[in-house]
């Protein structure tokens, strides 16, 4: 069975139609296997999620008196109003996703002790970056709209 055949002749074998066909079918079989695996991975990545929408209305500007710092806990944002300036600051800790609570100096995270100032800048703890600010806009019906897909620079207020 094991003659010198496989060591010498194998490399020198001519490319017969039979061998070409064998290679082609081999490639296509492997290809379909790869596509199967790929489709499985795309399958488990949801295209639509069932959670909350990232763009939502938070009511009229008059609902927020000046000097207010109102946390909309379900939305995971805090609405701040100073005079005619308003902002929507995220209350999801940038460290590991816990919800920060308002403290005298700003925000404090209960999970790993991150601290933020009133504007959401990190003052202590392991948080790697400031709490994001989200774009606020006034919808035609006079209600404020927050867009959580749209992060703006910290300190950019929206004039009501």
């Amino acid at each position: 069975m094991l003659k010198k055949k496989d060591s010498n002749e194998d490399q020198a074998q001519p490319l017969t139609p039979r061998r070409v066909l064998a290679w082609l079918s081999g490639f296509s079989l492997c290809g379909s296997a790869i596509i199967t695996v790929f489709s499985n991975f795309t399958f488990i990545k949801p295209r639509a999620t069932y959670g909350q929408p990232n763009r939502f209305s938070i009511g009229r500007p008059e609902d927020y008196p000046t000097g207010a710092r109102i946390a909309l806990e379900g939305r995971r944002i805090c609405i701040v109003r100073e005079g005619d300036q308003m902002a929507a600051i995220s209350t999801t800790c940038t460290h590991l996703g816990c919800i920060v609570s308002s403290s005298e100096t700003g925000f404090a995270c209960p999970c790993h002790g991150s601290r933020y100032d009133q504007d959401g800048n990190v003052t202590a703890g392991p948080a790697p970056k400031a709490l994001p600010w989200y774009r606020l806009s006034l919808a035609p019906n006079g209600e404020l709209e927050v867009d959580k897909d749209n992060e703006i620079e910290v300190g950019t207020y929206f004039k009501v």
Partner: protein, 445 residues
């Protein structure tokens, strides 16, 4: 009916129970060495074991039975887990109520949940201690390198299985531990956010995450673990049984066996072939006393012929030891489950994280490191540790010191490993007892 039969049909059926029994168990309880060999060899569950096992492998103080304990805890988890599945619904609106039902209406509900919870904690601990045993006895050295790698993967899968199970009660503890845990995954380079999204099926922990964790916990991970455990066991035998010091296999001039290795292998193959024909109880004389196919198995065990026989029959020595370990494990889990209830906190309240929000105890070392730096504590250092563990047998190529606890030849390796273990346990202790609200340092006293 057969016309040639002269006896009454009732007479020939009289042996029915015995005939059924003998068709299932081909051998009666063995009284001879040949019987012990064929009982082990012809029973599906027993044949996973060798017919004979080295005496050194049976020393309780060598293995402490930790691998077996891990496996038996996995069995307990499978059974109790399947039972719990009959009452559990992976839905954010129902999961917590089902936990209360286990308490209030299901017979032995609390007890089964306790068993499942404590066995899970026990398995994480047992697998880790097993890993320590294998390291400290140098058992990962050739030819057992790959089995060590499988073991490390099994350790990680055990942690992951435990982690996915943690979310299912859908209480405050579960929700925030998983929020923190999956955020750590988000810090992995390049694919971090992607992995987190795939795990949660959404951008936050919610219904999708609960369903995904449930599927991972009851289907994907148990199947993966079972498969790897099977390979892990199979490799033990293919790698020549449990590790032991080389002098256990040393040549003794006055050995019991005198046949040349080749002859011995031939003889043992012949014995296998002859076995069914031989009458029960027939002892093979002298040199031919070798029951099994060790002679045919490639690998370090094939030393037949020039080594003294320091092995004993698996029946009853090994099987009795396994039975004892099994019973002790079951009894231990039962005892803990009778006296301690698995915790169940308030139902999930997304608005109010508990303060402090702590992960399960075996992840508290990780959480402690994460409180210094999310990337390095949660991803960087753990990845380096896991990589070092996986590559260990390929990095440490120094032979010697195998098969003994704290061998002097392995002083450096063992000291390094113990430092690493003590550091990690230290972090867990700090995270568990010394961290209070806002993760501030508190004294437990």
């Amino acid at each position: 009916m057969n016309n040639h039969t002269t006896t009454s049909p009732w007479k020939t059926r009289a042996g029915l129970p015995e005939n059924v029994w003998r068709s299932i168990f081909r051998n009666p309880l063995p009284v001879s060495d040949l019987g012990r060999a064929s009982t082990t060899f012809t029973n599906f569950f027993l044949h996973l074991h060798p017919v004979k096992v080295h005496r050194h492998s049976l020393r309780a103080t060598y293995t402490w039975g930790l691998g077996l304990i891990s496996f038996f805890l996995f069995l307990i988890l499978t059974v109790s887990g399947i039972l719990l599945m009959f009452y559990y619904v992976p839905s954010t609106t129902q999961a917590y109520d089902r936990m209360l039902d286990l308490r209030g209406t299901v017979a032995f509900g609390v007890f089964l949940r306790n068993m499942h919870r404590w066995a899970a904690h026990g398995m994480v601990a047992a697998v880790f201690l097993h890993l320590c045993r294998v390291f400290l006895t140098g058992a990962y050295k050739p030819p057992r390198e790959f089995n060590w790698v499988l073991g490390v993967v099994l350790f990680l899968l055990t942690m992951f299985a435990s982690f996915t199970g943690y979310l299912l009660p859908w209480d405050q503890l579960a929700f925030w531990a998983i929020t923190v845990g999956t955020s750590i995954a988000g810090y992995a380079p390049v694919f971090g956010k992607e992995i987190r999204f795939l795990l949660l099926g959404d951008s936050n922990v919610g219904q999708e995450a609960l369903l995904r964790f449930y599927v991972l916990h009851v289907a994907v991970l148990p199947v993966l673990i079972s498969l790897l455990v099977a390979i892990h066991f199979w490799r033990i035998r293919k790698d020549g049984g449990l590790s032991r010091p080389p002098e256990e296999d040393e040549f003794v001039p006055d050995g019991i066996l005198k046949a040349s290795p080749a002859l011995a292998a031939e003889a043992s193959a012949a014995v296998v072939a002859q076995q069914p024909a031989r009458a029960e109880g027939g002892e093979l004389p002298g040199e031919q006393r070798r029951y099994g196919i060790q002679g045919l198995v490639k690998g370090p065990i094939t030393k037949a012929g020039n080594v003294p026989d320091r092995s004993v029959f698996s029946w009853p020595n090994l099987f009795m030891a396994e039975l004892v370990v099994f019973l002790v494990t079951v009894a231990g889990v039962l005892l803990v489950s009778v006296f301690f209830n698995a915790p169940l906190e308030e139902p999930v309240n997304i608005m109010h994280p508990p303060n402090p929000a702590k992960a399960p105890w075996y992840f508290l070392g990780l959480q402690e490191m994460v409180s210094y730096s999310a990337f390095w504590g949660g991803v960087g250092i753990p990845s380096i540790e896991v990589l070092l563990l996986l590559l260990l047998p390929y990095l440490d190529r120094k032979p010697g010191g195998v098969g003994r606890w704290f061998s002097r030849e392995r002083l450096l390796a063992n000291s390094l490993f113990l430092t690493f273990v003590v550091l990690n346990i230290g972090l867990i202790v700090i995270g568990t007892f010394f961290r209070g609200p806002n993760w501030e340092f508190v004294s437990p006293w």
